[in-house]
Symmetry: C2
Subunit: 243 residues, 2 copies
């Protein structure tokens, strides 16, 4: 069985890895959320595609496994890295319903890394990656994680900071973080990473509380050691530095 889940990196263009390009070239069928399939360049225009809508992830995995069982070489595509809030885990779970399947995961550049690269080097020391989506995790659990991470001095990267149905999550998260971190903590937002309209900006945690985020935004909350160096956000690796 030939079933691969491929990370496209932030924009599906130049941040694709060579291994991802090869997997896309070699497959018979591309499966994915419509807008991610649309990120792929002209050179994949002729490929057979199966696009499914948002929140149709289980359906997408079943279709992929079934096509692979029928002998097709199937590539399931995800934005960023398929293992970070992506399809890899669900694909393993769904494959079990079919008696298991050998799955190849091709990693990609996740938004924590691509957003950090735009902002400077916010993830230079220990960090946590936390999603603010409460579709699959209770909000109370998310608050507990935010508070623990901030209290332990970790830099925090927030995925899914807001969406149409939950415009308030970023503000609520900032209120939790402000219990542990000063208002002037250096923060950053990266938007449309690797895509048209790419932008980023620095702000304080107090300002972040009032900021507008959407589904295309990745948010970085510095630790007490994170610095603003000019227009960049940098977390030094450690406490001392050799010569």
């Amino acid at each position: 069985m030939n079933l691969t889940v491929v990370g496209l990196g932030p924009g599906g263009g130049e941040d694709l890895t060579l291994r991802a390009v090869r997997a896309l070239e070699e497959c018979d069928l591309l499966v994915g959320y419509g807008p991610y399939l649309a990120l792929l360049g002209e050179e994949f225009a002729h490929k057979e595609k199966l696009a499914t809508g948002m929140r149709r992830e289980v359906e997408r995995c079943r279709a992929a496994v079934e096509a692979a069982m029928d002998g097709k070489r199937v590539a399931v595509v995800c934005s960023g890295d398929p293992g970070v809030y992506g399809m890899a885990g669900l694909l393993y779970e769904v494959a079990r319903e079919y008696g298991g399947a050998e799955i190849t995961v091709i990693p990609g550049v996740t938004a924590a890394c691509s957003g950090a690269a735009l902002l400077g080097a916010p993830l230079g020391a220990d960090f946590a990656v936390i999603s603010l989506s409460d579709l699959l995790t209770p909000w109370g659990e998310i608050e507990k994680r935010l508070e623990a991470a901030a209290g332990a001095g970790l830099v925090i990267c927030l995925y899914n900071p807001a969406s149409r149905g939950r415009p308030d999550h970023l503000r609520l998260a900032c209120e939790v973080l402000l219990r542990r971190l000063p208002g002037e903590t250096v923060c950053g937002m990266a938007k449309n990473i690797g895509r048209p309209g790419e932008s980023c900006r620095l702000l304080t945690l107090e300002e972040l509380k009032q900021a507008q985020a959407d589904m295309t935004t990745t948010v970085f909350v510095g630790s007490p050691r994170t610095l603003r160096l000019g227009e960049k956000m940098v977390t030094p690796r450690g406490y001392r530095r050799e010569g």
Copy 2:
């Protein structure tokens, strides 16, 4: 000034992004830790190179900034992603000594993502990335972070789990984690990711305490929700699943 810091991904081969390849092709001078420069393929053999030893990071950054100030197109190379325990942050800090420099960070696939891809999908839910190196962070701080992350239900990815001078760190970390997590917690180790001798294995947290790690190992400690599915380690995204 043309100064770029480039993430090579795990092995410098097929996990390079297209953007990283282009930056390497376009530069005049490659700067990096010797073994990372050696990861690069034949096609870069003719490039001018400046290799420095381990722990000579500040020296390496100064040489890179000075060469860029002299008009060279300089690419500083790092294994994985340059923003995750890599050279990006230090390069920004050092550039300040020279009145600042415009630096381009080209992100790469970090070991958390490439190691996860080998093991299954351990990072499918919120996670923390913590280095066990106490060269730059006091050990007490590291213990506090481990305990906070485990207590908050985060999956944990450990970088630098051991080295010649500190063979004991992984065992000590496991002892801290066992205060918060059961001994049968699903864990994984990935070794030589993307390089000759690549391997991975699953084990329990209790077994991890006795395991041998070295500088080429990345370690994953599951959350209480992480599953062992056959020979794979999978953290389901959340608590419920749509049809």
